[in-house]
Subunit: 242 residues, 2 copies
């Protein structure tokens, strides 16, 4: 039973909350039975920490409730926390791709990953300027779909031209300038680029794109939350041509 905050393993799991350390170690933390099970199914579970006996088939460390309160970032403390290794991503590109350029809110990215899985989008691509893929809020917002969805990290200034070379229609998104998403041919290979919550698609990325799609909205409120907009666009893509 680990009772001390000074325990080496406890210090280690807490440091894994730091972005830089997480990347160096190629490990991240998940909390709660649901996500720990999903991580186990994905084959990336390394070690668990729990307040009561559990058996996930990896080394478990029993810890006190105080230690759990110390290492958990959740308001209502879970029974189990786990260290996982970064996923080996399947780099295979499918016909439907969503690209996030400088999306900063981990909750938005997680929600988009969840909707992407729901609408059979093959790949979610995060630009280098997005929030970290392994951010704990992102993983929770994805409802575990981060473990089932291809999520790639790419430098967009190279990746977008590469996609165009492969014959993808790469669309930017704009509140009104462009083609109504309902009119876009869904039979082709499509990549949609969603931009930052405040400022939209960055000018560097815009310069790489020939066309935009938009969602028809009222003039009272032309812009939507980025995860809401992405979900509607992916829903339309999944629906196919009308």
């Amino acid at each position: 039973m680990i009772e001390s905050k000074e325990n080496k393993k406890i210090k280690y799991i807490k440091r894994l909350r730091e972005n830089k350390f997480m990347k160096e170690e190629k490990k991240f933390v998940v909390e709660g039975d649901h996500l720990v099970k999903e991580a186990y199914s994905a084959g990336i579970l390394l070690e668990t920490f729990s307040v009561k006996e559990v058996s996930y088939g990896v080394l478990n460390n029993l810890i006190t409730n105080n230690i759990m309160a110390n290492i958990s970032t959740l308001k209502s403390k879970p029974d189990v926390i786990a260290i996982c290794k970064f996923m080996d991503e399947n780099e295979k590109l499918g016909d439907k791709i969503i690209i996030l350029d400088n999306v900063q809110d981990p909750g938005n990215i997680g929600t988009i990953i969840r909707s992407a899985r729901a609408f059979n989008i093959n790949n979610v691509v995060l630009g280098l300027n997005c929030a970290s893929k392994y951010n704990d809020k992102l993983i929770r917002a994805s409802e575990g779909m981060i473990f089932k969805q291809s999520v790639l990290i790419k430098e967009l200034k190279y990746f977008i031209p590469y996609l165009k070379g492969l014959g993808y229609d790469v669309y930017g998104t704009d509140v009104s300038d462009g083609i109504d998403i309902r009119k876009v041919s869904k039979k082709r290979k499509i990549a949609l680029v969603m931009g930052n919550e405040g400022s939209g698609v960055s000018s560097d990325v815009k310069a790489l794109l020939d066309k935009n799609v938009y969602i028809k909205t009222s003039s009272d409120c032309e812009s939507l939350n980025v995860a809401a907009a992405a979900s509607i666009l992916m829903y339309e893509v999944a629906k196919g041509d009308e």
Copy 2:
């Protein structure tokens, strides 16, 4: 220039963060130039607090940066914070209504209000068990649409039968059981009920409903984030019959 945390007004604005006090006083707080302007346009601005001269046409109190850091809940501190009075809601019901039953995340509710305005939904109705309409995160997530959208608070066990009496089709939402939203007649008076993030529509409310709608998704991921799902449903309602 107010410099002391012990100043009566400073203590007052901080207490307005408490749900109970906010309701008693029928006042709430907004932060940042964008929302303060929207509150002004809505005619509910009472008094501002700022670190530099501003002129919103109401009493302004100059405060130090330290005091701003003390009363603001934002990471990056705004130049201005305001006290507003609760809005007088237009109780007039339109043909398209979205009802939230026990939706707890203020960000989700704010996002839904924003999408509701974008898709010309007449009324957003919050059950008594939802997060507070005047929660600061909700207001920020709504991007100021809280000031432009009818948002009513109702006891759903009375309000839903009332709507049915008025001839509305009141639909629950379920991951798969029900009618595909694309097949629902949009010409009729429609109310959609969205449920809690974890547990969906509550059993009490379900008992009042005759039918559900669903969004077609992959079997890998049947459930969507509630704001994403609501946005897609409202988008379909706005689109009309196919």
